[in-house]
């Protein structure tokens, strides 16, 4: 990594290599493309939304690796019942 790279705050190439490989290996191992993951995410959101109101903007979703196994990790904030009740009331008015 050159001095100029550091000065410009550019990431070192070993880190880029590692980050790129992490993504590529997840796709290679799971055989899931980014588009497929996205559609899986949308289906998940639709299904869960039928039961409970969720905060889609605060949602985290992706594949993480743990050793040689992959897991699908979704962290989905639920809107509080209090706010939901308030929202329902304002609608019925």
């Amino acid at each position: 990594m050159s001095f100029l790279d550091k000065l410009l705050g550019r990431k070192n190439s070993a880190d880029s290599a590692k980050e790129r490989l992490q993504l590529v290996l997840i796709h290679d191992r799971t055989d899931l493309t980014s588009a497929e993951l996205e559609s899986l995410r949308d289906d998940l959101v639709a299904t869960i939304s039928r039961h409970v109101e969720i905060d889609v903007t605060g949602m985290q979703f992706g594949v993480e690796h743990d050793g040689r196994s992959q897991r699908l990790v979704a962290d989905i904030p639920i809107k509080s019942a209090h706010r939901r009740r308030a929202a329902r009331k304002s609608k019925t008015k």
Binding site: N12, S13, A14, K18, Q22, G67
Partner: protein, 265 residues
């Protein structure tokens, strides 16, 4: 004790499979083990030149399989190490001349004759690779600290798991400690973190490897070579010894740089 059958593979070509096999063979044979190497790269024979045995070939692996010679006739004895033998690949045939069951049969006959059978797999994940891993008790995956080599190694490890050959053990070859220090090369830890399998050796980049291949004398025979030392350590690990990994990062210390400038290293 029957022989341990070790296949060396990589997915990507040019990462140093043949160099690794030749060096492990020399290191194991120097320790007194009886070693037979099989070049599994039919049509692209190379292990013979790396070992410096190209002028001694009469019969090859396909001659044995097709019954034109006895197994012993195709086993070429090394110039210096009488307990090291090579069964060369056929150069004028293709990979379809050999099947996995041919390989299994051949290796079965060798098991009682030696301590280690080392099989050099061709690059790729097709028939030649499948043939090479079929008789293996243990598979070593060679990679370089570089994106395409690591990606291909991961594919191979996935196939090994699917074929019930275990995830294999990893050799990280051609690591350049100075580049790692500059953060312009994946470190051994990075590669291990990505591939998540057992590590059996880290081999530093070493000009001596090219000089050795020019002469047909693997660097494992050179007591001063660092790559040679790394291969000798892997050989001892294959023999079941616990050997600490070389401290490659230390080559960049200020004191060592001063020593190098002063021409002492």
């Amino acid at each position: 004790m029957p022989a341990q059958v070790v296949t060396v593979t990589s997915g990507k070509g040019g990462v140093g499979k043949t160099t690794a096999i030749a060096n492990l063979a020399v290191a194991l044979a120097s320790n007194g083990s009886r070693v037979v190497c099989i070049d599994g790269d039919i049509g692209l024979r190379n292990l013979d030149v790396i070992l410096g045995l190209e002028n001694r070939i009469v019969y090859d692996i396909v001659d044995v399989i097709e019954g034109r010679c006895r197994l012993k006739q195709a086993m070429i004895k090394d110039k210096k190490l009488p307990n090291l033998h090579l069964i060369p690949a056929a150069q004028t045939r293709d990979k379809n001349a050999v099947s996995a069951s041919d390989m299994n049969r051949l290796v079965k006959d060798l098991r009682s004759e030696c301590d280690f059978v080392l099989i050099d797999s061709p690059a790729g994940i097709e028939r030649g690779f499948k043939n090479a891993i079929a008789p293996a008790d243990r598979v070593l995956v060679v990679t370089n600290p570089e994106v395409s080599a690591v990606r291909d190694a991961d594919r191979v490890i996935g196939i090994l798991e699917a074929e019930g050959k275990g995830p294999g053990a990893l050799i990280i070859n051609r690591l350049n400690p100075a580049l790692v220090k500059k953060q312009d090369m994946l470190s051994a830890d990075d590669v291990l973190d990505l591939l998540a399998i057992e590590l059996i050796g880290i081999v530093p980049e070493d000009e001596g490897v090219i000089v050795g291949s020019n002469r047909g004398v693997p660097v494992a025979a050179d007591p001063k070579s660092r790559a040679g030392q790394a291969f000798r350590n892997i050989a001892r690990r294959l023999m079941g010894e616990e050997v600490p990994f070389l401290d490659l990062e230390s080559t960049g210390s200020l004191w060592e740089r001063i020593q190098r400038l002063a021409g002492r290293k």
